[in-house]
Symmetry: C2
Subunit: 195 residues, 2 copies
């Protein structure tokens, strides 16, 4: 998705430890028109399949997820990173390790919002080691819900997440695929790099 | 806003301690079409004023805020509840006490995303004691940014928040105003109640 790659190139900040900050338009300040374009792209890629629910995780997944839900007219469910006061037996949960923040979160979803009849499209902002998406996949397994696919805004293709998902036979689509941050520059998959 | 009141009446759960759960369409599972309707209502109420930024707080404020931002084509900035790894002098911050969760959070915004030239519409899902909105107002003061108004989806009008905001001379609009939860039912402001 050219427009997303352009924004990453123009506004993304490459930090030590292979961290890409896109706080200008995705993770802190959000560009709603870009989110709608991202939603349209996911609808192009997945829209011909039966989808009854969008599943994401708070907070940065919500914006791209809700635009996709708006276009498909289906509910958007976001997993929480803290346990709510709901009884545990009413929750599906999974542990998710954040390599960036070096903490483990438990993400949870109230079971009544994810019936076995659901056809779920998982949406998230970033895919690196695949921890968050894998947690969402585990939650769908607990629910016996069918996963239609996984849609990601920005994939760090040099990390393990993409393989981890596709190895499970899951249909993965990422709109911007980063090959490397060599020389503190963003290099996308398929682009010529003679750095 | 009749459609929002209807959804609250049909799907809201009244819990002890004046807690209203609207996890079915706003706080956990989100109805994107309803969020767009909420955004349209905020545009009706505030759209004739100059607005350059929508400010909210994660996570449940993001959905109504981003729809308002989409309709106005302005960026949406969400305050974080945890400090990021950014240096403190690059942040505006405020302490926010949650009466529901009985914890104090520090909400933060990166200062570069809130210049003094901004005309800010604050959007949030709930207004009860006004802690979150007051924190966002403090952040706007730190930034010397102009607050155009505060748009709330659901106001608990029997709690102190609304007065706390309007006493500061701030233009407040709430789309559903709850007068009481007498008999574990939702009673809206202006509705006849002979319970």
């Amino acid at each position: 998705m050219k427009i997303l790659e352009e924004r990453i190139r123009q506004e993304g900040l490459v930090l030590p430890g292979n961290v890409l900050k896109v706080n200008q338009f995705l993770n802190h300040q959000i560009d709603p028109d870009l989110m709608l374009d991202i939603g349209k792209e996911f609808v192009k890629l997945f829209g011909e399949q039966k989808i009854t629910k969008i599943l994401t995780v708070e907070s940065s997944g919500i914006a791209p997820a809700i635009m996709t839900g708006l276009l498909l007219h289906v509910p958007v469910l976001f997993a929480r990173k803290q346990k709510s006061s709901t009884m545990p037996n009413e929750l599906y949960s999974a542990k998710v390790y954040s390599y960036t923040k070096k903490i483990e979160n438990t993400i949870t979803v109230e079971s009544k919002f994810l019936p076995a009849s659901d056809h779920v499209l998982i949406i998230d902002d970033f895919l690196a080691n695949g921890e968050a998406v894998n947690g969402l996949l585990k939650i769908c397994q607990q629910a016996n819900a069918q996963v239609v696919g996984v849609g990601i805004a920005i994939e760090k293709s040099f990390q393990a997440g993409a393989k981890r998902i596709t190895d499970q036979g899951i249909h993965l689509e990422s709109l911007a695929k980063i090959a490397s941050f060599a020389d503190n520059q963003v290099h996308f998959v398929g682009e010529n790099y003679n750095g």
